[in-house]
């Protein structure tokens, strides 16, 4: 490491590795992982989100989970929370729908209204 520019490169890469601890998060994806969610495939939904985000190198997107969301008939359920915008809840998700949401909503900023089951709190 010879220059401040070298240091900056290492810093940025390391910050990305540490983003779970509170870095620059633009979009937070919360997957409902209650028993009913898991029974309906929430784990595969979660895994697909993680893969897509990693493949596309989306450094400002975080995936996390929560418990029962009380929307059993629409499981698996996913909340998409973006700074300054209303929360969007997608329902009846599966890996294919996840890939579409990542491309359309997260990358291109267009909500996939067909999959939406609730907005706001």
């Amino acid at each position: 490491m010879k220059t401040l520019a070298d240091l900056k490169k290492i810093r940025e890469k390391a910050q990305e590795e540490m983003k779970l601890r509170g870095g620059n998060v633009r979009v937070k994806i919360v997957v409902g992982m209650g028993t009913s969610g898991i029974a309906m495939g929430a784990r595969e939904v979660m895994k697909t989100f993680l893969e897509e985000i990693s493949n596309r190198n989306l450094t400002d997107v975080l995936v996390t989970q929560t418990g029962e969301k009380g929307l059993s008939s629409m499981e698996p359920v996913v909340d998409l929370i973006e700074e300054g915008k209303a929360k969007v809840t997608y329902g009846n998700m599966n890996p294919d729908k996840v890939r579409k949401v990542v491309v359309e909503h997260i990358v291109n900023g267009r909500v996939v209204s067909d999959y939406v089951v609730a907005t706001g709190d």
Partner: protein
């Protein structure tokens, strides 16, 4: 492809390790592998998170869920409920007046704290250079080396108002300027990691929890004074700290952050780790230097100061660990930012180790000027077991104690000194109303008697005299003239001792005499320990009205000195009693009391013995 979605930070400061943190970490590896989600969870061993009383502690990100008192048996539940199902385990979280504390940043213990030196402790993996860099590490060094001259760097430290954090409180920039101005073929910088004050573990936590920060601080100092070589002198009782600093040095060297022409500048630097071998006095600058040179750790008179004639008689700066830990942030965020915290004379923050009879023992960092009341009752959570606050000892064996009347004193160098106390290195021992201050003073003097290097008579002989007097007083053999003698000795030893150890060793006695004279008088005049601590000056007594004659006390007595029957109840033979307290602990109806003073039987027995010896 990283599928990591959880950062599990497990506090592995020595405190939590001693409570089993490493076994918990192993168990997490096992359970995560069993459940097939090992690739989703990052397990990070961090340095001290601070609240030792809650240990073992962990924090789970991204939510920042704070878990306390975690046991190996809890790991399965945490994984299956929280990691797999997203339901944090509530019984392991903090409850504060019916409210569940979800995230670490809401924990009351942290509310009044401002982390500067401890910013990364408990947050990063101390064995990862990358994580240190991620939080801004080495940016300060790079900027200073490429954009500032040494004089300019010293000016920044001057403006910040940074004072030595090891206890002396000496303005850091003055030491640096002195050495900077001397022309010499070799200069040295030394990091004093010989933290030995009883009750102090700030430096250990910094060395273990954020080693690169200390390295960077050392190099900032080295550049400013013109030193090309540095030494870490770490006490041998801190094996983990030694390991981490050695590792950090190796990591820095591997990437060129230490070595020749750092950041492409003219500055080249090399550092080594050396250890102590169990001598508190080696925390004193000159003793430390002699120890480094391979000698006995005897202090030598100052002047000449190490700045002029230090290690191998070359100009040397000795800085404390915490002093160095503040430097990178001072340069990154600016001197004005640092000096905006604290008081007129004491700028910035200070790390304290809170121990004793409080709810939240542990490591805290607060702005200078916080009151003792805030530190003990807000940050420290108040006293344990419903007892009342009696006294607080600041600065370890060099410091004095303060009482309830001082609770609103701001904690800064001058305010404490005016009241006979001392900031010291940061050890804060809080004592409740069950403690005997004469006994406490005796303990501190005993410590100094043991640790005295023996070179100068006032310390070597004088402290021993003070100890003997205190010992007699706690055994009921005190004389009226003892208190004046203690004062006289104390003043003499402070004035005539060669080094800081001797000069400050009488402080605990002098301050307890000042604020708790009546306790000393009770020991001497009434042959009684009002707080029932000094074993010869209180006795146990079985209240026959409450005694149910169960004989449990008699059976548990190691001196077999309790006798009686169900009908006649039980009595203690006071002369044979060893004051172990077993009887009081086991009595099912709490019929046994501690009574201050010697039992008449014991007094009579002593008088009879004395008479028969005369004959």
């Amino acid at each position: 492809m990283s599928l990591k979605r959880i950062d599990l930070l497990i506090c592995c400061g020595s405190g939590c390790v001693s409570a089993g943190a490493l076994k918990i970490k192993e168990r997490f590896h096992e359970v995560l592998a069993d459940k097939g989600i090992a690739n989703e969870v990052n397990i990070i061993e961090t340095g001290c998170m601070g609240p030792c009383d809650y240990g073992p502690v962990m924090v789970v990100y991204p939510e920042g869920t704070f878990y306390k008192h975690v046991k190996v048996e809890d790991v399965e539940e945490i994984v299956s409920e929280h990691f797999v199902k997203g339901r944090p385990v509530q019984r392991l979280m903090l409850q504060e007046e019916e409210r569940l504390i979800a995230a670490q940043k809401e924990v009351p213990f942290y509310q009044k704290q401002v982390k500067v030196a401890l910013a990364n402790c408990g947050y990063i993996d101390p064995e990862s250079l990358e994580e240190y860099i991620a939080t801004g590490g080495y940016e300060a060094l790079g900027t200073v080396l490429t954009q500032m001259k040494p004089e300019e760097a010293i000016e920044v430290v001057k403006k910040s108002g940074l004072r030595g954090r090891g206890g002396g409180g000496f303005p850091t920039h003055i030491k640096w300027r002195l050495v900077h101005d001397i022309k010499a073929d070799q200069k040295y910088i030394i990091c004093n990691g010989d933290e030995g004050d009883p009750g102090a573990f700030m430096d250990r936590s910094l060395l273990e929890g954020d080693p690169h920060r200390i390295l960077e601080g050392m190099m900032l100092g080295a550049y400013s004074i013109g030193a090309s070589k540095g030494f870490f002198y770490i006490r041998a009782e801190y094996p983990l700290a030694i390991k981490r600093i050695k590792q950090a040095i190796a990591q820095a060297k591997e990437v060129g952050l230490m070595g020749e022409n750092i950041f492409g500048s003219d500055f080249s630097f090399d550092a080594e780790v050396r250890t102590g071998a169990g001598a508190f006095v080696c925390g004193e600058e000159m003793a430390l230097i002699h120890s480094l040179e391979g000698e006995r750790g005897n202090p030598t008179p100052k002047p000449p100061y190490p700045a002029v004639k230090g290690l191998w008689e070359k100009p040397t700066v000795v800085n404390n660990v915490e002093t160095m830990a503040n430097l990178p942030t001072i340069f990154l965020k600016g001197a004005e930012w640092f000096s905006s915290m604290g008081t007129e004379t004491s700028k910035g923050t200070k790390v304290f180790a809170l121990t004793g009879d409080i709810q939240n023992t542990g490591l805290v960092e607060v702005p200078m000027g916080i009151t003792l009341r805030e530190m003990i009752f807000d940050v420290g959570g108040g006293m344990t077991d419903g007892h009342k606050f009696k006294a607080v000892q600041l600065g370890g064996p060099s410091g004095g104690c303060l009482t309830a009347e001082h609770l609103d004193v701001p904690v800064d160098y001058e305010s404490l000194k005016e009241r006979g106390a001392m900031m010291g290195s940061g050890g804060v021992i809080v004592m409740n109303d069950q403690k005997c201050m004469v006994n406490v003073a005796k303990f501190f003097v005993d410590f100094c008697v043991d640790e005295s290097c023996g070179k100068c008579p006032p310390c070597r002989l004088g402290l021993k005299q003070m100890y003997n007097i205190l010992d007699r007083i706690t055994k009921g053999q005190g004389k009226e003239s003892d208190l004046d003698e203690l004062l006289r000795l104390g003043e003499t030893i402070s004035k005539l001792s060669l080094c800081g150890l001797g000069q400050t060793a009488p402080n605990p006695v002098l301050s307890t005499l000042r604020y708790f004279r009546e306790e000393y008088e009770a020991h001497i005049r009434d042959k009684s320990c009002p707080n029932k601590v000094c074993t010869d000056l209180f006795h146990f007594s079985i209240d026959k009205d409450r005694c149910i004659g169960c004989s449990l006390c008699s059976r548990k007595c190691p001196a077999t000195c309790i006798s009686g029957s169900r009908e006649e109840k039980f009595t203690i033979n006071q002369v044979d009693c060893v004051k172990c307290g077993n009887c009081q602990d086991v009595c099912p109806v709490k019929a046994i009391d501690r009574i201050p003073g010697m039992h008449p039987e014991v007094v009579r027995h002593a008088e009879d013995l004395a008479k028969s010896e005369e004959e």
